[in-house]
Amino acid sequence: MARVKLPTILRPHAGGERAVDADGTTLRELLEDLESRYPGITQMVLTDDGALHRFVNVYVNDEDVRYLGSLETEVDPKDTVSILPAVAGGR
């Protein structure tokens, strides 16, 4: 199972955990699995029509999925998936 790191804003859905495990061969499947284990957790990650929210960034092994396969990005059990809200960079 892949490791999914959660931002503070999603942790209440997962009992306060900073990281959880989830199953799936693609990011889409993984998010579906996450939702089945922790209902409501993907509400802030996906829009109503199932796309990634523009203020949310998802990385597989630190690479932004929007430049891999977006929701069809392949996920391996050894991978780490990180979810982070978009914030202003420094400077």
């Binding site: 931002p7 802030m44 809200p85 420094g90």
Partner: protein, 328 residues
């Protein structure tokens, strides 16, 4: 066959005399990294710390102020106001001093001490925003203050003069000095460097990869109350990039130390993150058996970050020291 960094030095005695410090902005050196470059790959560092105030922000400060003067938005007597975690403020302070404008900067209170001291030295008025709200917090306060007519806010996160400075400066310089470039790697903050340089390179160099290194801060910076509090700079166009990496402070500090210990280049912490992404692309190219010429941005030198604790102790200690700080 190993690729070398030997190149034609060009005519001696290229003019280096300028009427004014503002004219000395840009045209920074592109320096090879013969020791850190893996076989078959050449990595090149663009030394933006060679700009007058020591960072690439000199380019956009001059561009934004002059664009506002041309459009009539900035007139004598108005004060320039900007949310900034330091480098843009320092660059604007230099430009404001030369052109006779006042400057107010809104800066998170956890910015490094050196950055705040420098701003004070340049005569800027400083408004501190809550450090735990990061740059989002300083933008919020700046937007509120900007309602007052005496201020002109360039707003680096949405001002087209920002990427234009990189299109016309950074991008042109890179194509002139490294026409065989395969990858350009820079930090993702306002997104101006990547948008401007990226657009120029994609227009002039077929197949070039535009790679973003996004600093990943401590948890507090991402502790929004709801997702709609998120922020994406108006300048950002994701289609300009081909890859985007998230880089944490441990990797950034590690690469920073390699850069100074192996190549003799002393850089700010964000540069470590950018180098980490550049080395990632180098490894991919090497694995694929492809040649690569990777240019990455050295945003500034490390002087302003010595007090952060990132330049001493073990990497774990440095990572702990940077927790809660906006290190990029």
């Amino acid at each position: 066959m190993p690729r070398t960094f030997v190149c034609d030095p060009g005519p001696r005695g290229a003019p280096m005399r300028f009427d004014d410090v503002l004219d000395a902005i840009g045209d920074t050196p592109l320096v090879g990294l013969p020791s850190l470059s893996p076989p078959g790959v050449r990595i090149w560092a663009k030394l933006e710390g060679q700009n007058p105030t020591g960072s690439l922000k000199d380019r956009i400060a001059k561009a934004m102020v002059e664009a506002a003067e041309d459009s009539g938005e900035l007139t004598p007597g108005r004060t320039i106001l900007e949310p900034t975690s330091g480098n843009t403020g320092i660059a604007l302070a230099m430009v404001a001093r030369r052109k006779g404008y006042g400057l107010t900067v809104v800066i998170p209170d956890n910015a490094s001490e050196e950055r705040i001291r420098l701003l004070e030295l340049f005569g800027a008025e400083i408004v501190l925003s809550p450090g735990d709200k990061g740059t989002n917090g300083s933008i919020e306060i700046a937007r509120r203050l900007a309602g007052d007519d005496r201020y002109y806010m360039p707003f680096q996160y949405g001002n087209p003069a920002n990427p234009r400075a990189h299109e016309e400066g950074t991008g042109e310089e890179i194509v002139r000095d490294l026409p065989e470039i395969t990858h350009f790697v820079a930090g993702l903050g306002t997104t101006g460097t990547l948008m401007g340089t990226g657009r120029f390179l994609r227009e002039h160099v077929p197949g070039v990869q535009i790679v973003a290194a996004e600093p990943r801060y401590g948890e507090g910076v991402y502790a929004l109350r709801n997702i709609d509090e998120g922020f994406v700079p108006e300048l950002y166009d994701p289609d300009v990039l081909t890859t985007r990496y998230s880089v944490g402070s441990f990797d950034a500090v590690q690469r920073n130390r390699e850069l100074v210990q192996v190549e003799g280049i002393f850089a700010g912490i964000s540069t470590g993150a950018i180098l980490h992404a550049a080395l990632g692309m180098a490894a991919k190219a090497r694995k694929a058996g492809e040649r690569a010429d990777i240019a990455f941005v050295v945003c500034d030198a490390g002087w302003k970050y010595l007090s952060t604790g990132a330049y001493a102790g073990s990497l774990d200690e440095a990572e702990d020291a940077l927790e809660g700080q906006l290190w990029a």
